[in-house]
Symmetry: C2
Subunit: 209 residues, 2 copies
DNA sequence: AGCATAAGCGGACTTTACCCCGCTTTATAT
DNA sequence: ATATAAAGCGGGGTAAAGTCCGCTTATGCT
């Protein structure tokens, strides 16, 4: 009588609508940019009611959050299962450096959506299970275990490194509507100084720089 | 005919209203918290029109920005002219560490206002003339000049250190409406790992830790 | 197949940030 | 002292986020 464990799978109409809304949202972003995506407009264009949109995503930021999640999954795949140094197998310090470079590129690629996903009520899409923070924390733990690092409070360090990595893009980078062409040039100084920070923090065994 | 240089000083009625609005805003924050400060409510309680509020502050975030500026001035004073190691006179690396500790405490003290001042349109109160970034940049320059630091791109490094310092509070720290009592305990791990980062980045001459 | 129930749905309603523009007040030049 | 132009002021108007609640539909059980 009470199907306890599972909260009853998502209804098929709900799933269809969710996908539909995400799809329409991407179209609207491609056509007019994130600023022009309104809840009313999205609902109307998808042929649904506004209540439905809010039920699925809770808040405007939630839409962009869901959008980012889709793309993030591919990124996580290469981090968790791809080839070294990004994927497993390489030295943890090398992986940290590679992760930072890849993450900066990813965030710049998606920066419009990332920023639209910020919500001034509620901390950040990232409070507890921020994947960057978790991954950085894990690599710090491994580095520590292998003797590259002798620091006590790895948790706080991970928080601050995550902020150092993502903060510039989330907070400071001009969100000028110009998403001109090549995000790479902007990313290089950030990536280089990320590498510097990591190398100095962890006495890297092979300072090949 | 055209008083070129100066853009004609602020009118006295405007100045009076500005102070009045700031004062009333503080009262409303003290009574019901930042969330309850609405533009209409503020205008009405100050006995002014809504248009006036927007003219003075441009946006809701602008109010909190102005409020923070007032308190920030005192903080800057102690940084620019107070006793070492926060003020001038101490070793730049020691000053960096002291600055981080002081800044974390300041931000936690004001975190409700700080967060209310964030605006999802427009980068951050901080894009170009973020005082933290500027101060950090200056101290890095001094450290470099004194040979504590041999890094090329001090500008990017300053951006990332600023994010490491302020990001956790701006982004990740739970903005739970509970601003319970003593923000200090939360600040200590952050401050300690800030010190760690700075010390490792700059070959501190006297690692007294 | 039929039924009970939880989930989904829609759109009117409320709240709030922000815009606009005609009127008033202040500061300056003569 | 008076004229004039710029700045300030007010409050009604718009748009968009988010809430509510009665109606509809899928789902799982028998």
């Amino acid at each position: 009588m009470v199907p306890f464990g599972r909260p009853r799978a998502e209804r098929v109409d709900a799933a269809r609508n969710r996908l539909q809304l995400l799809q329409v949202a991407r179209e609207m972003i491609a056509e007019h940019g994130v600023e022009k995506v309104t809840m009313d407009g999205l609902a109307e264009r998808a042929g649904l009611g506004k209540g439905t949109v809010f039920r699925r995503f809770g808040t405007r930021a939630g839409i962009f959050h869901a959008l980012l999640d889709e793309d993030d999954r591919a990124f996580q795949q290469t981090v968790m299962g791809g080839p070294p140094p990004l994927g497993p197998g390489a030295d943890p310090v090398q992986r940290l450096i590679a992760y930072g470079r890849a993450r900066i590129a990813f965030l710049l690629d998606h920066h419009a959506i990332v920023r639209a996903g910020l919500d001034r009520n509620q901390p950040v899409p990232a409070g507890e299970h921020n994947l960057s923070r978790l991954h950085i924390r894990m690599l710090l733990g491994q580095a520590h275990h292998q003797g590259h690092l002798d620091i006590a409070d790895l948790d706080s360090l991970a928080v601050q490194l995550t902020a150092a990595l993502e903060g510039p893009i989330l907070l400071y980078l001009s969100m000028a509507p110009s998403v001109p062409a090549d995000p790479t040039p902007a990313s290089i100084p950030l990536a280089d100084s990320w590498q510097t920070i990591v190398e100095r923090l962890c006495r890297t065994p092979s300072p090949e720089r």
